[in-house]
Amino acid sequence: MSDNGRVTLTIDGQEVTVPAGTLVIRAAESLGIEIPRFCEHPYLDPVGACRQCIVEVEGQRKPITSCTTPVEEGMVVRTQHTSEMAHKAQEGMLELLLINHPLDCPVCDRGGECPLQDQALAWGPGESRYIDPKRVFRKPIPLSPLVLLDRERCVLCTRCTRFCEEISGEQFIEMFDRGAAQQVAIAPGEDFRSPFSGNTVQICPVGALTSETYRFAARPFDLKSADSVCPHCACGCTIRVDIRRGEVVRHQARDNPEVNDAWLCDKGRYAFRFPDRDRVTTPLLRVPGLEPASFAEVFGAIAERARGGRVAVLAGGRLTDEDAYALSKLARTAFRTNDVDHRLTGTQDVPLDVERAAAAGPGVTYRDLEKAGAIVVVGLDAREELPILHLRIRKAVRKTGARVFVIHPRRTALTDVAEHIPCRPGGEADVLEEIVAASGGDSAAARVTAALGEAGGSAVILAGPGLAASPGAVSMAVSMAQSLGARFAFLSRRAGDRGALRAGLHPGLLPGGRAVDDESERGEVEPLWGSIPGEPGRDARTILEAAARRELDLLYLIGADLRGDFPDAALADRALENVPFLVVQDISLGSEGQSADAVLPAAAFLEKEGHFTDWEGRGQRITPVRGPEGLSRPDWQIFQELSETLGADMGFSSLEALHTEMGNLLAPRSVSISPGGSRREPRPEAEGLELFTYPLLVDEGRLSVDADELKAALGTDSFVEVNPGDATRLGLAEGNEAVVRTEAGEARLPVRVSAGIVEGAAFVPYNQRGFRANVLLSGTTRAMATVEPATAAVEAAG
């Protein structure tokens, strides 16, 4: 082999040098030579099943498949372009693939974007020499409410089944039978219940796997498309949005080795209808009912209330970086307040340093996970909360043998590739402390310490967003990382969270994580913004309490689903009822909009230009596929115009102007995290079970409106999950109703008994069909709860 692991070979007469181990088919691509293939997929292991990619290699008696053969020094390869043999072999293979392929291209969803069709047209024989009957299967069978299978069209490339085996690890579909009867199939009576099922549709090289949401929906030629980023979570998956006659018909993954490889979760793929539902398309003012008004009128009304009044600003997690930045500036310079927050998830026990660091710039990346010898996941149910991160962790295990540990009260979907370390909700800090203290022995803690030791600097500790609700846990995770020499990442949850933090939608932080109350850091911002109040503001919870006590004159909600997101439904209601003037800026009204005094119509993500910053801190561009609905506008434009009315022009005449200023303040800075350490007060000895909650991937969130197929395939009604031990102790049985009581409220929920959850805990999904958990919460996602059989409750009631 040649120097530094690179190999030089010749393909169709052209020399090319590639890394050793490169497959011939890839080396050819690097020369722009496209070798036809069906089973080959860059993110799946080579299999060599379809035999379409045959080429000739000098000195080899037999033809070879270029998708399975690594390059060799001095190799001389002839593809279909220069080898008669390869050309005939490929023609012959195509003919063989077609003898049993139906002629239904005109009605096939893949028609027009089908590799098989393209090749058949390109150089398939005019008419087939095959005159005998074709293989016949019953036409499409549903694998789930989302995915359909047409076995007649299948070319048996096994991409779909290999995806399930290699990537998601959820083997619902398999190849059954053999020979010409071999077929993709699912065990009768079972559903393709994998939140990654849609990927199999996208990688199917023909129309065998199709999506219920896209059946007969469109033809490639009447689609309009734009590149964007998934608006749902902080994974940052790059997508392509397809619209037909102005309506979204499909989200597809864009290949992106840095982030989502070629994958999407089913929520990102199938929850795409929200921009086309219940949009607010004009400004509204209450007189006393909500009536259409002009932007000027609404801005005027706001200005009137804001002048000399006490204003607070709360933003949801869907703002672009640009929107967030403009809002951060608007709050400080026009409303002259630091009462601004985007963390609507209640009490956050997170050291400010951790947020400063996250706000300052990028940190741990997806790629780092593949290089990590060990990964500790704490406070995160990755598949439900950050699904593509879940896949990347699996990839790290499969490709580089990373050792993974998951510290969580529930056994997560990583358990088959990781060591699960159970821990009571809120007890994460204790477990982490044990690990730091551990030395030798074969306790779980010791195994983690050992693995981190072996992994050296490559090890990564991933702290889920939910960990902030566990007293002292985040700071303990930090000190663990520091003492064991691992890298640390505090993960964000929603697409706009990290961008909001970077922009300073935080009572204590300005852009880039600069502390409001730090003279010099504030001083770096003021030259561009003018003077900024130096007192840190109030966080979301304190703001709402103030509003509830009528100590606020104006509450400005931007894309904030307060009633849904805030973990204290009662407080949210009281705040909304008691605030004298409520401004809601959003793409749809929502329940907050109903009670608003002024409404401003915002453009949806697919109608604007901008960026989303994912959990890594990586900003990625989104581009509009259509113009804003009605009079709606990108949020940053609304803020700019409002600033003018308020007599504090932010000077963002254009997106470019905005970007230049952001460039100045958001250039990555380095912020060192001062040694963490747990500041925990002993938890009060309380009765009952420790109730905890977090949102499941497929829930009733606002961006999932009308995603009916998705919910039918993967959704569940709400439930309360308890450990078998507790179930017996409390007389709870699978499927029966239970009454869950906390100091905040009570609910009747069906019981799920699972050995996967620790004793002494009760899990209720945050927002499922039928129930939203914040009814039971008082400002944090944890609570002490009593759970008893509904019947008993009735008797008790008399």
């Binding site: 080579p46 299999v47 060599g48 099943a49 379809c50 035999r51 379409q52 045959i54 008696r61 037999k62 033809p63 399975t68 005939k88 072999a89 012959g92 293979m93 003919e95 063989l96 693939l97 003898i99 049993n100 020499r129 095959y130 005998d132 009957p133 293989r135 016949v136 299967f137 019953r138 076995r151 070319v155 048996l156 096994t158 190849m175 059954f176 039978d177 053999r178 020979g179 010409a180 009867a181 071999q182 077929q183 199939a185």
Partner: protein
Amino acid sequence: MAEFEPVLTARWRTDGADTIDGYLRSGGYEGLKKALSMSPSDVIEAVKASGLRGRGGAGFPTGLKWEFTAKAQSTPKYVVCNADEGEPGTFKDRELLERDPHQLLEGVAIASHAIGCRTAFVYLRGEFLYAGRQLERAVAEAYDRGYLGRGIAGSDQDLDIVLHRGAGSYECGEETALLESLEGKRGQPRLRPPFPAVVGLYGAPTVINNVETLSAVPHILARGADWFAGIGPEKSTGTKIFCVSGKVARPGNYEAPMGTPARVVIDELAGGVPDGKRVKAWTPGGSSTPFLTDDHLDTPMDFESITAAGSLLGTGAVIVLDESDCVVDAALRFTQFYAHESCGKCTPCREGTWWLTKVLYRMENGGGRSEDVDVMVDVGDNMLFKNFCALGDGAVSPIHSSIKFFRGEYLEHVRVGGCPLRERPALGAAEPREAGVTGVVELGEVLR
């Protein structure tokens, strides 16, 4: 031929030779004792020097294969005996297992010593119920007498043998498909390289040998490599069991030196074609080896000579057709076999065998078109060496060879609109038999 003294089949005619006492009485396990007294590398050298080549069909030098595995760094290492005998016309391994199971166990033990294997497997064809019974009994006896288990034959070597039954799949005889099946998966082949010798069972270096191959090993150790190398031609040494069936007077297994002329095997050993009929076509090594004709009867039955004659020695399974048999019908039946056994993984084998079955069926039952003959040749070309494994290549043999030698007979089928030799028995299935028919019917989905 008379004076030739059989080696592997020597014990077949003596009663009780299948028991350990009978086996020991006739010099059994001497080879193993000899081997255990030698260093593993010396054992490998001996097998290399004997010139022994695989009897499972591919004819790969056995000693060399062992050396690759012995040299492979990682441990553990495994020996797997391929007893899945499924090549149509082949029935030597079954009889070796039924009549002399200890001979195989001894071979396995020697191979295990040579490469450093503690657990060996015998992958036995599921349908071989009696052979399994014999083998199970032999294994029990061997444990009982200390030829298996801890410290075999008084040495410090341990060896366990696990008997694993297949469940009905010819492809599982292909060594990598066999490993998949042994790992509890569908019997579909793996990419090679890496070869099993380096990455085999559970990813460990693995020697895979045929029953007849391993059964020869004890004799090589006991009587010396030179003795074995002295039998047969230089490149194809030793004795070979020829399985003769079809139109002969005395079908059966006949052990003879490699290089024995086909005429001797068919006429002298198997008693020739009955009723004074002529040999029309014959396979030297099962359905996967191209047909030869009566013009080739003087070809010596060894790897080189048969290859030179345009076919392959394969398993040494000689199936004889006489002048009253229809080659189109024979090719149809073979092709139906390949369609039924195709694993389905790769396109050319899966779709090609389906296509050829349909065309041949039309030919034999009327509806053949003259252009069909060339279409079949071309479909065969498009399959050959483009298949994932050799099953698909084997499927082309009967097509290409029968058309090469009997094109006229094909065209005659077209002319008379059916089989000109309606002197039944018909060979091909009564109606088109597609691959996996049973499976499809059970999954209840294919309508045809």
